[in-house]
């Protein structure tokens, strides 16, 4: 195992990775921007290195500064967390060339996943069901219009190379598609330096299901069951759970088996190793591949808490060349877990709300875990994404987890910023949520104040 590792991330995930690494006997190095110098993850690491000014491009995305920090501290490996440089194959390769292990998938596998139209083609060839759409990227408006007739409206226009909902738009009619297509090409060029987009069928209210994958460098690949992440705003997840309510009490077992098989097939098609997630849409009894994320997911704790598999620990072991000792038949779920993303934002309009955390009192109790990036007295700055913490609740059953979540959220005290705890409480009050009837349009149809 590595003696010393560097965590190329911030906030709650940096803190979590530092905790796991320390528990495995490794020394830890944090890196930080000027905006984050006072945050807990900087203080909790054995060493901390300043990367640069607040903007991400000058700090957490600054490859030269990250490489310097790793060399200076003699870190043997870099864990990228999620976001920032985690899915950057170039970065992974730069590290490897400098003799530093990147705790993630092989760069070649990352490249295969990065271009979403390439990814779709690859998994479709391996027999994984995909959302009906264009085989290739769409060159011009005329092609987009004729392809949309074949696929059927509404269609979703997406930037190849995009993520996190950036550069996506829905068109219900040919007139809308003309407008949306041009806007999407502009966005793709601005955000990802490439102007290629593709089209696919838009499902008005699907569920978002995903399969956790764990693979070693010796070709042994497992799935670590499912998660459901249907509750979203602006295409970003708000509440996640394991397992999906769709499969509770032995329901829909054939869909579940189809989902796991598709997840494994997709991971193998990419030549995947380390921890990753295959995302699917579910609509009318069918699952459709959307993409594979070449990294640890934000919502990985709900899998860890219900399966007992230490995903971050395995990421390190796999990166160090160890073989998986887990077997597929040993992977079973015990109980249920829910994760609530705590965002610094208005709980109704979802507008960002940076500011000082004058009060930040975490709830406690049986089955209550808080992964927080901040402590009372810290300031949430406008520089990075609005997630300040994750409240993770586990219970013997979904009903018990929901009851515990209500108590925990009701006692969570945050003052100084607007936050979405009131939204989570509204979600938990919703009859549809309690019954497990959720989809990606949930927040538009339920949980209004």
């Amino acid at each position: 195992m590595f003696k010393k590792i560097l965590v190329a991330n911030r906030g709650e995930i940096a803190r979590r990775i530092i905790t796991v690494a320390r528990g495995m006997g490794m020394q830890t190095v944090a890196v930080y921007s000027d905006a984050d110098a006072e945050l807990p993850f900087v203080k909790e690491a054995d060493e901390a290195v300043r990367l640069g000014p607040a903007p991400a491009k000058d700090s957490y995305l600054n490859v030269a500064a990250l490489l310097d920090a790793a060399k200076k501290t003699k870190a043997e490996a870099i864990h990228p967390g999620y976001g920032f440089i985690s899915e950057n194959a170039e970065f992974a390769k730069t590290m490897a060339d400098s003799g530093i292990v990147f705790v993630g998938p092989p760069p070649e596998a990352m490249l295969r996943m990065k271009d979403k139209s390439e990814a779709r083609r690859l998994v479709a060839a391996a027999g994984v069901p995909i959302v009906p759409g264009t085989k290739d990227t769409v060159a011009d408006v005329a092609t987009a219009l004729s392809e949309a007739e074949r696929i059927g409206y509404p269609v979703l226009c997406k930037a190849a190379g995009g993520g996190g909902g950036i550069g996506m738009a829905v068109a219900n009619t040919p007139a809308e598609l003309e407008k949306v297509f041009r806007a999407c090409v502009d966005r793709a060029r601005a955000a990802f330096s490439r102007d290629t987009v593709y089209l696919e069928r838009y499902f008005p209210a699907p569920r978002h299901l995903e399969v956790q994958i764990l693979g070693d460098l010796k070709g042994h690949t497992l799935h670590i069951l499912d998660r459901e992440c249907s509750i979203q705003r602006r295409h970003q997840k708000v509440v996640e759970e394991a397992g999906s309510p769709l499969f509770l009490d032995g329901q829909n077992t054939s869909v579940r088996e189809q989902l796991y098989e598709a997840g494994l097939k997709a991971a193998k098609a990419f030549g995947y190793a380390n921890a990753g997630t295959v995302e699917f849409l579910y609509s009318d009894g069918q699952v459709y591949f959307i993409e594979m994320n070449a990294r640890l997911q934000v919502e990985h704790p709900v899998t860890e808490l219900t399966t007992g598999v230490d995903l971050i620990g395995w990421q390190f072991r796999i990166a160090a060349g160890e073989a998986l000792t887990l077997k597929q038949e040993d992977i079973t779920r015990k109980g249920h877990a829910l994760e609530f993303r705590i965002y610094a934002e208005d709980p109704v309009k979802f507008f960002p709300s940076p500011g000082p955390l004058k009060v930040f009192q975490a709830p406690t109790g049986t089955g209550v875990r808080l992964d927080a990036g901040y402590a009372e007295g810290n300031t949430v700055t406008p520089n990075y994404d609005p997630m300040i913490a994750k409240l993770i609740i586990s219970g013997d059953s979904r009903a018990q987890a929901i009851a515990r979540a209500k108590d925990a959220l009701a006692s969570f005290k945050i003052e100084g910023i607007k936050h979405n705890v009131p939204l989570h409480l509204r979600i938990l009050e919703s009859e549809a949520f309690v019954a497990g009837r959720i989809d990606t349009k949930f927040l538009e149809h339920h949980a209004k104040p």
Binding site: R234, A344, E345, F351, P352, S353, P354, G355, P382, N383, Y384, D385, P386
Partner: protein
Amino acid sequence: MADVTAHITGTVWKIECKVGQTVNAGDTLVILESMKMEMPVEATDGGVVKEIRCKETQAVSEGDVLVVLG
């Protein structure tokens, strides 16, 4: 005179109007950026841009006056 204020705390990403320009209610005057989101600031009423009180890349707080309409 109507003050158009920042509805979020963040930085000014783009200024989409010029002094002397006539704008309608709903027109985007400034785009703010905060927490990886771009948020347009729109004119609540029509009018002429009298003054622009912010610069691109400047940090602003919720409630700060960005543009004065007359």
